[in-house]
Amino acid sequence: MSVEAIFALLFTFIVLLIFLELFHRAVAALIGAFLATYFGLVYHVITYEEIFTFIDFKLLIFVIGVYIIVEVLDRAGVFHFIALILINLVGASPRRLTILFPLMTILFSAFLSNIAAMVIVATLTVAITKRVKVDPLPYLILESIIANIGGMALIISSIPNMLVGLKAGFTFLDFLVFSFPLMTILTVITVLAFRRTLLKVDAVEERGIEKFDPWSAVKDRRVFTRSLFIFVLTLVLLVFCDRIGVGMEAVASGGAVALLALTGIDLEDVLRHIDWGTIFFFGGFFILVGSVERSGLLSLLAHKLLAFSQGNPALFTLLILWFSAFLSGVVDNIPVTLTLIPIIQTAIVETGFKAAPLWWSLIFGVAVGGNLTPLSSPTGIAAMGILDKEGYTDYFHQFLKVGFLASMLLLAVATIYTYLLFLILG
């Protein structure tokens, strides 16, 4: 058996473990790392010293920094404060909810992880739809789709954005210029499509609710003000960090340290709520992918994809978009992104294709792909769990009715947008 075949089997085995959820994905990735190290050393694919160079420590620092910032902001009540202001501003009649909830979802998933954004917005949705006596189910389907789309807004919005952004050297502004407009277009299309089909807003009786006091979400105004100030300062520094000669990981970790020091929030408590599973998953999967790359398997895959696209850069870009979308419709989008990055790097080095459109197609693909089925993304699964708990058991079928079609529509729009981007950047 060739080395490529052994690593192909190992990689498929680990992806299957992640897909079937037989272990926590971090444990599966660490098993993969140990097996890859063993086979890599036995077949002289890697040396022991270079194993640790596979781990992208800059990314780990960036992700931990962002996690801490978001956790402190949440404790300070910033997100709930903003949610109450939005409810008061937009209003909560059934018709206005179709604007309110998507707006809230987009805003939160731009700064929080998609799943954290989904839990906050879904909880508010259940509470508010009960008050105005409408069915929360269609709103939650809409939110689970939009949470995934919102994940493409900024570099800090999702792990794939951070992974690709740091690897491609994209700045905070690049995301505002290239990714944010597509996110806006896709959100508007989704809301319009849902207003006419699932939400049937014209048939619902208009009912308003009382205004809320946003300060009820804030326990300590001093902590709130300081958190908000440091967060805004961190965002500004993220925008201009390339001009001051530091990386985004330095700004994010600096912001996290400043927040912990100036708000007095208990570090131990913050650390307990950080998603360490994802951090350990990174460690393991970086070593696995690094070893698989050294075995030549990913280069082989890159050549297959290039052959399929007949060396046409536009076709290859769109192929990456669709390939990543369908893969992340089945597997978590983080391993998909980690696997496709070296494939894209190989294609760029060997063909001289323009890098930027390829990286954007990967970011767009993994974001849109999370909506292909109700189980394609953690947001869909969380929405289903919450509705189940509230006694609504029809999420899966209702999603299949409209969700898949909506996703295909979104993928079609993303394809047109990516092609235009290819023409502009290529």
Binding site: L84, I115, I120, S216, A382, G385, D388
Partner: protein, 82 residues
């Protein structure tokens, strides 16, 4: 087959996400409802023989109305002192 997979996933979501959801639901309910306080009042010394009457104050409308009045007056005084 599909039902089995769904049930498995549902149990997974319940296990993994429901704790998070319960916490969030408590927080949202707290934020969206009117602020309230719960005060523990002990039977004053020397009234041990009136235990029953004391316990029934919890449901005594006239008493509760008087407490509400007292809260209003106290807050009014605090506002004036600001």
């Amino acid at each position: 087959m599909l039902k089995k997979t769904l049930d498995k996933l549902k149990s997974y979501t319940r296990r993994e996400r429901m704790v998070e959801y319960e916490e969030e639901r408590r927080r949202v309910n707290e934020i969206l409802s009117k602020p309230s306080i719960a005060i523990r009042v002990e039977l004053p010394p020397g009234f041990e023989d009136m235990r029953e009457e004391f316990m029934s104050l919890e449901h005594d409308d006239a008493f509760l109305s008087a407490v509400k009045d007292l809260v209003r007056k106290t807050l009014l005084m605090k506002r004036l002192k600001r």
